[in-house]
Symmetry: C2
Subunit: 251 residues, 2 copies
DNA sequence: CCTTGCGCCTCACGCGGCGTGAGGTCCGTA
DNA sequence: TACGGACCTCACGCCGCGTGAGGCGCAAGG
């Protein structure tokens, strides 16, 4: 009967944990080795097995307290624990997913800037970031999802084409505005029609989305203008001019 | 010039953070409001804007230190930061995914037990958990992936059918063994053929997978026998008997 | 004037799961 | 017996605040 018996360092090496972790497990009452006369820890077969169980349960993402419950509580509920753990994990995954969406969106904006040759200073970065979070507060999650769906449906190439067209469109409308052209003029009407068409490509004709887009732009004029590479005042003027054109058409 | 100026509580409510968080941001040097004569914090327009930037950046998953860098370091690299953050997030997602796989696998085993009417005691739960982690240490990640792929290819119904067949097969082989039937006997051969066929359904005929399966079973006899609902000694005997049958066939 | 009540202030500990020293003791081998 | 390595016990650090405790400031009502 050769009783197996490990010292901390040995057990730690075999089990793939640190000596400090074993100390900690003992401190929180999870794993209590016996001691030699000199006070050195000795881990017997029972402790080795218990440590294996501890590491296995930790690998499921359980906290040390949950592990203790699983090992010591007589009324422990395996299936329920697994289920709850799985639910918590789903919640965490959703959180990470939202974070990933934000990062990807920001990444897209940054690459778009880089492609168009605009410099990416810390300031523009902050403006873009702020605009993104502002947008989130103005759209419902379903609306955001719908916008993402539209983007996917359109495809990258189409999106880039639209992104490339926006500045030219703004410039053209601005030129008419500066020239004092009547908003009812057919040339202006054509430009504004195209404007609405481009917007429609993203909203998919959803009036709720258009409405939210409007309030978002309203609420964060500075951020939006940064997004579009325009001066805030000029942006306001452009938007007002376009609106007069739409009113003229409706009349 | 009505200078805007908020008190902590007001700003906290508007920005959707806690007063304590604002205190903390000041303590770590992120956001420094001015003070009234009585020592109360006053947040002006600049501080309000900075707080918005802080919350936006935090929403990207940046640490407070990273936020400070983004806001104060002159050589801050937006694109690189976004990219690194995204990479860190991917790593975290992978970790969660592995955890989810373990939990799902364990959940499957538990449900399978429940269906077969076996009671799920804390002990069986621990045995199953341990067997799972043991399996992970004996298979390479690619092998685990391949096993998961095979499971998916087979479909839930087929898997349940196999799971239901195993115990019957063991029982049948056990009966022959107890009866002292020669391993070379056609009846035994037929059973063992079926046995190997079932194993083959999961390994997909991959010899590496079979090899690893063998070592895993070897290394964790207690856990494996629990998994199969057999006594460890009987399991060993059954396996030895089946092996003799295979040897007889080969000869 | 004083009281009432809310909001503000400053410590300071707590959480989870250990990492990382610092300073001292024990063990096995040459 | 001397040495190096393994062991021991504190005890603080991390991250982002939450959560009191104990004490002022400020505006309105009595």
């Amino acid at each position: 009967m050769s009783e197996i018996s490990f010292r901390v360092g040995e057990l730690a090496a075999r089990a793939g944990v640190t000596v400090r972790a074993l100390h900690h497990y003992e401190a929180v009452g999870l794993l209590r080795p016996s001691r030699t006369d000199a006070g050195h820890r000795r881990y017997g077969a029972a402790e080795v097995e218990r440590l294996q169980q501890i590491t296995s349960l930790r690998a499921l993402g359980l906290s040390l307290e949950q592990v203790r419950d699983a090992l010591d509580a007589p009324d422990f509920d395996p299936a329920g624990t697994v289920e709850r753990q799985r639910a918590a994990l789903d919640a965490e995954a959703a959180r990470l997913g939202a974070l990933a969406d934000r990062l990807d969106g920001l990444g897209r904006l940054l690459r778009q800037r880089a492609r168009s040759g605009a410099p990416i200073t810390p300031d523009t970065f902050l403006a873009l970031t702020h605009a993104m979070t502002a947008i989130e507060t103005h759209y419902t999650p379903e609306q955001l999802q719908r916008l993402a769906d539209r983007r996917e449906a359109l495809g990258d190439d189409a999106i880039r084409a639209v992104e490339a067209e926006w500045p030219r469109l703004f410039e053209a409308v601005g030129a008419e505005m500066d020239a004092g052209t009547d908003p009812a003029d057919p040339a202006v009407q054509k430009l504004v029609d195209r404007w609405d068409e481009l917007v429609g490509m993203f909203t998919g004709g959803d009036p709720g989305l258009r409405q939210s887009l409007g309030t978002a732009v309203e609420a964060d004029r500075a951020g939006t203008s940064q997004l579009m590479g325009l001066d805030p005042d000029r942006m306001r003027a452009l938007f007002a001019y376009a609106q007069r054109a739409r009113d003229a058409r409706a009349a």
